[in-house]
């Protein structure tokens, strides 16, 4: 009899499981997060507030005019880039949402996704080709007679802003597009049928509904921007020193891990403030929805 017993499951299949099973399933992630996020972060704080001067490391950062300048340049340049990127991205994403022309859709799609497919060095090299002393922009402007002498475009803050704007565009367009597709286009027509101009309809109907998306992409773009390293170094040189290059200098040239750690912590604080500020403005729920 015993040998004849059919093998049966102790319990039927369930769509929910106990807390312990759940914990077991996410354990690999928890371990990875511990090893790759929590441990380095604790180590970073210990370095920043450890040798040589403890808290004095931080005051040391602010006593150095060069260090202060990098933090200021980083925050300001990132702000300029973010404003341009979100403004241009908002228009591009709306065109992508509303166009019926396949050609327009493909053109926008390609121009937005292209930077995502290219390596950072490639993208920067493209800007070098465009902006150098005898590059495409200068030659075109001279031959058109707009300028007599080639302008200095490379190694300027302008070059950094242009390069970063191009690279950041997808990060604004994609979340904005995701919000726009949830907006019924008939709402715009409804507003127009009630006497609103197209601009007024966009302001009264689309803007308020897209606001969480706008703030979300602003936060994303800004937070990524303040970490930029290659673009400011290659396109801006000494004109736009970013905190990231200061960190690299401290680690690889000056061997001052404490200073590097302090700079990193300060960047982290800026990012955290921006994210929390964004969350406060939009409300957690709407932000979560906007981020998908």
């Amino acid at each position: 009899m015993l040998g004849m017993r059919r093998r049966t499951r102790a319990r039927g299949w369930q769509s929910t499981f106990s807390g312990l099973t759940g914990l077991g399933l996410i354990a690999p992630f928890l371990i990875a997060a511990g090893v790759f996020i929590v441990y380095p972060f604790v180590e970073l704080l210990r370095t920043a507030f450890g040798e040589p001067d403890g808290l004095g490391n931080v005051t040391g950062f602010f006593e150095s005019p060069a260090a202060r300048r990098t933090l200021w340049t980083t925050c300001l340049t990132s702000l300029i880039v973010t404003v341009i990127v979100v403004a241009v991205g908002a228009v591009l994403a709306w065109s992508l949402r509303t166009t019926r022309s396949r050609l327009t859709r493909m053109a926008i799609g390609l121009s937005v996704f292209m930077p995502l497919w290219m390596g950072a060095v490639m993208k920067i090299y493209v800007f070098t080709v465009l902006l150098e002393r005898f590059g495409v922009v200068n030659r075109t402007l001279t031959s058109l007679g707009v300028i007599d002498e080639p302008m200095r475009l490379m190694r300027t803050q302008f070059a950094v802003v242009a390069g970063m704007t191009y690279q950041m565009l997808p990060y604004a367009v994609l979340p904005l597009y995701a919000v726009y597709v949830t907006i019924d286009l008939n709402l715009v027509l409804a507003a127009e049928s009630m006497g609103a101009s197209r601009a007024r309809a966009l302001r009264d109907v689309v803007a308020p509904l897209a606001l969480p998306g706008l703030l979300a992409s602003t936060v994303i773009v800004y937070v990524i921007c303040i970490g930029y390293y290659l673009t400011p170094v290659l396109l801006g040189g000494a004109t736009a020193p970013f905190t990231a290059s200061l960190i690299a200098d401290d680690i690889f040239n000056l061997f001052e891990p404490a200073q590097a750690a302090v700079s990193s912590v300060l960047l982290l604080i800026v990012a955290a403030v921006v994210i929390l500020g964004g969350l406060r403005l939009v409300g957690k729920e709407r932000m979560r929805r906007a981020l998908g």
């Binding site: 008939n186 027509l189 507003a191 127009e192 049928s193 009630m194 609103a196 509904l209």
Partner: protein, 382 residues
């Protein structure tokens, strides 16, 4: 075809002074002249001419893809026609943007502004027209009252039921007293019972607003309940237009008869045609019937036979006697719906009184009479 939609004659029109013989004719509430609209290679509208008197409730009825929504979008100004003109109350608005057309529009999915309360939705058009705040508030309260939503002005659309949202959409479209109210299948998202209740409601609101209404639907029942005038669209053209009664009793074509429902569309041999009457041979009987439109002499002709035209006792001026076999019967409570078949194998649906059920045997034969005055000859379509 060129059609003019008239307001259905009502009792007061008969007893009161007749429509002004001396007064110059008022401009039509809506006039469409030769509208053509192409999308890529396909023609969505192939020449639409329509004149609707002010105050008429016109329903544009047609299957999906027939161009009925395109008409509405052209009239609203959301689409520019490739050819033709749109006139509202005599004013050519073909090149006028939607905002300046004095139209109210009710969308299929209502398109209520989700971030505004019901009251703010209704007030939006008034705000755009720069009504002072006090007037706006008064009008919003009035409109909420009119659509029976008195206390719900402060709710957001998502806090309202489907029927309530529908009422807000109508109130919003009517608030600024547009000359023309356009509705695109506004009842499509509601359940059947609510739909019929709202249809009666819409009819009342149309009368109170006293403007012209163009209503697009694919639902015949709605069209019958609501309209003074029904326009049937087929393939980007107006196939037929008239009052519900005209369209039902004398369909112009097999498409109208088939689409409008309640008709058998059968094929018969034509033996002669004189003026508006045709002689046909159907199910072994020679009969003379009215034509839905002027017909050419041909071998074959279509016959539109209303389901009530078949009975078990002779009726009408010229009943034709038919021997039919019974295929199926469906007891519907007040009536019996039977499917019969002629000796040639042509199926014929009939609606009979309840007691007729006793004389019908499934699979047997029955002697029935066809009231030929109700039969209409239409062009034969393969």
């Amino acid at each position: 075809m060129n059609v003019r939609a008239r307001k259905a004659p009502r009792r007061e029109a008969v007893t009161g002074p007749g429509p002004g013989a001396a007064a110059p004719p008022a401009p039509a509430g809506l006039e469409l002249r030769g509208l053509i609209k192409r999308f890529g290679g396909t023609e969505a509208l192939r020449g639409i001419d329509l004149v609707a008197d002010r105050g008429t409730f016109v329903t544009v009825l047609g299957p999906s893809g027939s161009g009925k929504t395109t008409i509405l979008r052209v009239v609203a100004g959301f689409l520019a026609p490739d050819q033709g003109e749109v006139l509202i109350d005599g004013r050519d608005v073909t090149r006028v943007p939607p905002a300046a057309r004095a139209i109210g529009m009710v969308f299929q999915n209502y398109a209520l502004f989700p971030h505004m309360t019901a009251g703010d939705n209704i007030a939006y058009g008034l705000k755009m027209r720069r009504w002072p705040k006090a007037d706006r508030d008064r009008r919003v309260a009035e409109m909420l009252e009119l659509v029976g939503l008195g206390a719900l002005g402060g709710r957001l659309p998502r806090e309202l039921s489907g029927g309530q949202q529908q009422r807000v959409a109508v109130a919003r479209a009517l608030a600024f007293q547009p000359q023309l109210l356009l509705m695109d299948e506004p009842l499509g998202a509601l359940d059947r019972e609510l739909r019929m209740r709202m249809a009666v409601e819409l009819r009342r609101l149309h009368h109170e607003a006293a403007g012209t209404t163009v209503y697009v639907t694919h639902d015949r029942e709605e069209a019958l309940t609501l309209s003074d005038w029904i326009v049937i669209m087929h393939d980007g053209r107006i196939d037929a237009a008239g009052t519900a009664e005209e369209l039902y009793t004398r369909p112009r074509s097999a498409f109208v008869a088939g689409f409008f429902g309640g008709h058998n569309v059968a094929e018969a041999a034509m033996t002669g045609v004189t003026g508006a009457r045709a002689r046909v041979a159907f199910a072994g009987c020679d009969m003379e019937v009215a034509c839905g439109q002027p017909l050419e002499r041909a071998d074959r002709v279509g016959l539109s036979i209303p389901e009530e035209a078949v009975s078990l006792t002779p009726a009408g001026a010229a009943p034709a006697r038919l021997e039919l076999s019974v295929l199926d019967d469906l007891y519907l409570g007040n009536v019996v719906r039977v499917t019969l078949r002629t000796a040639e194998g042509v199926p014929l649906r009939a609606t009979l009184p309840r007691d007729a059920r006793e004389s019908i045997r499934h699979g047997g034969t029955v002697t029935a009479y066809l009231d030929t005055t109700q039969v209409t000859a239409v062009p034969h379509e393969r």
